[in-house]
């Protein structure tokens, strides 16, 4: 049996066997505002100044249309169907170690519309690359029939401050059924982006999750040099493995669709496991492969220098009855105003000068006249 066939069979087994982890990507949104995502697997490979981001969908519930929004650090040069077994082959490479150590882990105005800069269809997925702010991307999603979860506005703003590009993937279950796909099957997507340093969005994985709900993911990095990561491991993710990528692995990956760009040797494989919650996972993974420190801004730990303007709530006039309130978080206290009927006051102020003029006139008219 050829190497390619071996890999394909093993990948099939990984997908079919109940022990295999489900694949998914981005923050999924659906008509009911939530989808039961199980786990995410992603490859962020970086070679010669180009990031190859490979991820796949696989969700465990729902029907009809579902969508996913993936923030992008820049405009992609290509979005295509991912390889058939790349993610599974990476899981295979690291599965023994995971099993061995598994026990150790437990404006007030409507914004401009988002610009659709790229559209393509991959199997049952309609892919649209959007350019816009968090608000306009949210509107785009709402206009396309999806109910975003309540944390979406904040999460989209978080990303829009760093990059205006998002990828929306709408999964059409009906089309998938016609293609013979089953609910739960994954569709890998391969995004190619020119990027000096690789970057992996992590916060988006918690989109729509309850605070106590676990966010789990496998992230694989393939880089020319040992990557420096920010934040450091331990704050919601762990480094499972950081080793030179074997030539066998690279050869297998190179034989998959769209992966021929991989060099035959000389790359580093890093396997990260995310085991966190949405409130904890408020950062992304910034990576530096040149030996320097990764950017805290790209990690989402520091606000960009020129943040997008935040609409300030307008404050209505506040009158005497001001029993307010406790201010929550960084939001300004709500304005409270008093509404009363004003016509009596207007009438009173109108009558006063009239009365004065009338009084003066009567006084003059009634005063005894003197003749000279």
């Amino acid at each position: 049996m050829s190497r390619r066939a071996c890999v394909a069979v093993f990948a099939f087994a990984l997908v079919v066997l109940p022990t295999s982890s489900a694949l998914a990507c981005g923050g999924l949104i659906g008509p009911n505002g939530a989808v039961n995502l199980t786990k995410t697997t992603t490859l962020a490979a970086h070679h010669n100044g180009v990031e190859h981001y490979v991820t796949a969908f696989n969700y465990a519930g729902g029907g009809g249309e579902f969508g996913s929004i993936v923030p992008l650090p820049t405009i992609p040069s290509k979005v295509e169907k991912g390889g058939a077994w790349t993610l599974q082959r990476l899981q295979q490479e690291t599965a023994p170690l995971v099993q061995k150590e598994a026990a150790a882990f437990a404006t007030t105005a409507r914004a401009d519309s988002a610009q659709e800069v790229y559209k393509t269809r991959i199997d049952a997925l309609d892919i649209t690359v959007l350019k816009g702010g968090g608000e306009s991307v949210g509107i785009w999603a709402s206009d396309h029939g999806f109910r975003l979860p309540p944390d979406a506005p904040e999460v989209l703003d978080f990303y829009a401050k760093r990059s205006p590009y998002f990828m929306a993937a709408v999964f059409d279950s009906k089309a998938a059924k016609e293609r013979g796909q089953q609910i739960g099957d994954g569709t890998p997507i391969h995004i190619t982006m020119p990027l000096r340093s690789p970057w992996v969005p992590l916060r988006i994985l918690g989109l729509g999750k309850q605070p106590s709900e676990a966010v789990t993911a496998d992230v694989y990095l393939l880089t020319d040099r040992i990557p420096n990561l920010l934040p450091a491991a331990g704050s919601g993710f762990e480094i499972e493995r950081r080793v030179p990528a074997s030539e066998d692995l690279l050869a297998d990956l190179r034989s998959d669709r769209g992966m021929e760009w991989l060099p035959p040797f000389g790359m580093w494989l890093t396997h990260l496991t995310i085991n966190s919650t949405a409130p904890q996972l408020r950062y992304d993974l910034a990576i530096n492969v040149d030996g320097g420190a990764p950017s805290p801004t790209r990690a989402g730990l520091v606000a960009p220098r020129t943040p997008a303007p935040t609409p300030v709530p307008t404050v209505a006039p506040t009158a005497e009855l001001t029993p307010i309130p406790v201010v929550t978080g960084d939001l300004a206290a709500a304005p409270v105003s008093q509404t009363r009927s004003t016509w009596p006051l207007v009438l009173a102020f109108t009558l006063l000068p009239i009365s004065a003029v009338a009084a003066f006139g009567w006084w003059r008219w009634g005063r005894p006249r003197t003749s000279t």
Binding site: G33, A34, P150, A316, L331, T339, P344, F349, A358
Partner: protein, 136 residues
Amino acid sequence: MRLRGRTAILIGVLLAAVGVSASASISAPVRTVVLAVRHSKFSVSDLEVKRGEKVRFVVRNEDPIDHELIVGPMPVQIRHESGREKWHPPIPGEVSVPLLETAETSFTFAERGTMWFGCHLPGHWTYGMQGQITVK
């Protein structure tokens, strides 16, 4: 005598004006509370009102997603949390607020005690879109 009569009329007119002015200050007040919603959070989490007071809630939705405002005691909140009403008609204390729009509703707090306000679209109440109203 004639002068006195005119003076009396003048005083009467002035008194009438003052009386009308005074009546303005004792007319029943309607309080307006503006609730801004941004990042699925109300700008206010606690309110204090007087028994019998009528409050006009103006909800300004600054998010690119829909929200709603439901005012009432906890049983009402529980009913809405498990309810399936997608849209609330403009009945007192309940209003839907489409994305980036402003809507309003009024509610009269008839009895002393604790009331609540919040949004019951899926996941919104749990996410923190809720607040407490103390009726004194």
